[in-house]
């Protein structure tokens, strides 16, 4: 039990209301999609055991309310986060424009020790809607923003179809691991330093 906490990776999902945060989390953890999700009040979380390079981790994914006025709860919920996932809806321009605000708020409230290098991952969700005909934010535009913020890994997903969700969360887990200070980690002697090194954010986790 003593090592349990150390293997825990805390991930926070942020983004505007209705972009699919709860759906993404449930698709990843429970492999299912439902039309019956309710608006998240406060915050909720699910956990999933993941294996990354032969090591086991518990991914603790925190799903948050999308209405901005709940942001004041951030201080309490974001504490100890290892990675922050920013989600927008590719069909709603405003949800993309708000990413910057979500990112900055997170950095203020979570106040990580090294904000410059804190790992974020951006997900453009709902690419399935109307066969992609209704999208208003192009992949190029989204990638350009991610590049300007220190090469944030970017994924296009469909929580409904389960498209790219697994790959996105693997990247999220890898980035979360990188954020854990090594002395805090419960790792066997054979740490695969090379493996971790190869996962540079600029090169790794491409969709």
């Amino acid at each position: 039990m003593a090592s349990r906490r150390r293997m825990l990776l805390k991930v926070i999902i942020l983004g505007d209301s209705g972009v699919g945060k709860t759906s993404l989390m449930n698709q990843y953890v429970n492999k299912r999609f439902s039309n019956q999700y309710k608006a998240t009040i406060g915050a909720d979380f699910l956990t999933k055991e993941v294996q990354i390079d032969d090591r086991l981790f518990t991914l603790q994914i925190w799903d948050t309310a999308g209405q901005e006025r709940f942001q004041s709860l951030g201080v309490a919920f974001y504490r100890g986060a290892d990675c922050c996932v920013l989600v927008y809806d590719v069909n709603v321009t405003k949800s993309f424009e708000k990413l910057n605000n979500w990112r900055e708020e997170f950095l203020i409230q979570a106040s990580p020790s090294d904000p410059e290098n804190f790992p974020f991952v951006v997900l453009g969700n709902k690419i399935d809607v109307d066969g992609g005909n209704s999208r208003t934010v192009s992949e190029k535009k989204a990638k350009a923003w991610c590049a300007s913020k220190g090469n944030i890994p970017y994924f296009e997903t469909s929580a409904k179809e389960g498209f790219n969700v697994e790959a996105a969360f693997e990247c999220i887990a890898r980035n979360a691991i990188k954020n854990e200070p090594e002395e805090d980690m419960y790792l066997p002697d054979t740490i695969d330093v090379g493996g971790a090194g190869r996962q540079q954010r600029s090169s790794g986790c491409e969709c």
């Binding site: 825990l8 019956q36 608006a39 009040i41 406060g42 309490a76 709603v92």
Partner: protein, 477 residues
């Protein structure tokens, strides 16, 4: 004996509440199971409800409370009863007076709705807005690919004149309301109808216009939905919801640094500290002393923890604390504040078993407001100014108050949360090694809670809490 037999054979009482609010067949496995069943001789039945009114239609409120407290309200009369429970009408009023007031309110709602329709034509159109329609600086957003149900339409937007700030603020909320309405109680067959969805959206859109401090906050759709369902007329549902909001709106008021419900969480924390110091300490050690894991329970009053029918039962019982106050105020109004103060101490123990204790105490302090709440019509702006006056009074009373620390009344809902925690006391103490475990343990109970049991236990904790508090008071003085 014959009467009793007649009660038991009453076909009205054979009803399964789940058939009154049917759940979509594809959702039955996932929806929480309902435990509440109308019970002959205990539940307030349509027949009994009729008998509780005299010829003029004045209500025997004490008789009503007795029934509701024992066994909840029969599904077919929930709407009418809730109007009284939430304080829409004075129990002493006659049917004619109420009809008059109802007509006035319906007209008032129509006016408000017309005003909203002038600002956005989607209001009252049977459609729902789910995409942002305006930017923060008031520029309209065109939604070329609106999903059939959305529209931007408004004459004002094309006129070119800048919109007033309050109109922009209101328009910024419309898609949020729509997003939530589309996700509220969708397991119910009722919401398969677009008309019913639009009605919930309309009520919330109009409310967000009249309550400028809050507008719309996530969670409000969960509170509004049952009311919209049980009241046939949209305007009646609106005013009933508005009354409910008066009770809980403090939870929804947010600033950049906090949100209202946290005050209740602080109260919960102090209650837990006094009734179960061991569990409280354990939670504190897990960094859960803020009780944020109970956030949702208080915010949407257990809508997510209980089935639809069971939540309504829980609300009915919780509503009683305020109603009981009215009766006691009627009696106690003649006494001077000094006498009242002494009474409060006595009442604390005397009414322990009847939901009346703290609420009673508090309502004495709020006396003028509560009266006018019953007597007055429902203009919100006036109510807000009254509230300020009351707050001042409250400050004055506070110095003499038995519980100097209590700035807010303690609603029963907080004790219900405490009872939920207490029911998992052992598990929390033994198994919770982190805050995540606490959340997990509490999530497990979703849908498996018994509203009646939770309520009974809440009252026991309430009593225990009061005993601790009054014990301290006696030793202090």
């Amino acid at each position: 004996m014959r009467l009793l037999a007649c009660c038991y054979n009453d076909p009205e009482m054979q009803i399964d509440p789940d058939t009154v609010y049917p759940i979509r067949p594809d959702c039955r496995d996932d929806a929480p199971k309902t435990r509440f069943k109308p019970r002959p001789g205990l539940t307030l039945s349509p027949r009994r409800w009729k008998l509780l009114h005299n010829e003029e239609g004045c209500l025997d409120i004490a008789g009503m409370i007795k029934r509701v407290q024992r066994g909840g309200v029969h599904p077919t009369i929930k709407g009418e009863v809730w109007e009284f429970l939430l304080g829409c009408y004075d129990p002493k009023s006659t049917t004619e007076q109420r009809n008059q007031l109802r007509q006035q309110r319906r007209l008032e709602y129509e006016k408000l709705k017309t005003k909203c329709r002038e600002m956005d034509t989607t209001v009252g159109s049977g459609r729902v807005i789910t995409m942002p329609v305006i930017t923060e600086d008031g520029q309209p957003i065109e939604n070329p690919n609106s999903d059939g149900g959305t529209s931007v339409g408004s004459e004002q937007q094309t006129s070119g004149a800048p919109l007033p700030k309050e109109v922009i603020q209101w328009k910024l909320l419309l898609h949020q309301i729509g997003l939530d309405v589309n996700r509220t109680d969708r397991v119910l067959v009722y919401y398969e109808s677009q008309e019913n969805l639009a009605r919930l959206w309309d009520i919330l859109a109009v409310y967000s216009w009249i309550d400028k401090d809050i507008g719309y906050c996530q969670g409000m759709s969960d509170l509004c939905s049952p009311i919209s369902i049980i009241l046939e007329h949209e305007a009646d549902a609106f005013w009933c919801f508005e009354r409910l909001m008066r009770r809980v709106r403090g939870n929804f008021i947010s600033t950049s640094t906090s949100i209202g419900v946290r005050a209740q969480l602080t109260t919960l924390s102090s209650i837990m500290k006094s009734v179960d110091p061991k569990l409280h300490e354990h939670l504190e050690n897990l960094d859960g002393g803020e009780y944020l894991f109970a956030f949702r329970m208080l915010m949407v009053l257990f809508r997510r923890e209980f089935s639809f029918v069971d939540t309504m039962y829980l609300w009915e019982v919780s509503c009683l604390d305020k109603i009981s106050c009215f009766i006691v105020i009627n009696v106690s109004n003649a006494y001077s504040p000094v006498v009242l103060e002494i009474c409060v101490g006595l009442c604390m123990r005397h009414y322990c078993y009847n939901f009346k204790t703290l609420q009673l105490m508090w309502s004495m302090e709020y006396n003028p407001n509560l009266f006018s709440m019953l007597e007055s019509d429902t203009g919100i702006s006036r109510e807000t100014t009254k509230d300020e006056g009351v707050l001042k009074q409250c400050g004055k009373f506070e110095r003499k108050s038995l519980q100097a620390a209590k700035k807010d009344e303690i609603p029963l809902s907080i004790f219900v949360v405490a009872s939920v925690l207490e029911a998992r006391n052992k598990k929390l103490l033994v198994e919770a090694k982190g805050l995540d475990d606490v959340v997990k343990i509490l999530n497990e109970i979703t849908g498996s809670l018994d509203a009646k049991k939770a309520c009974r236990e809440a009252l026991q904790i309430h009593e225990k809490y009061l005993n601790t508090v009054s014990f301290r008071f006696i030793h202090k003085s």
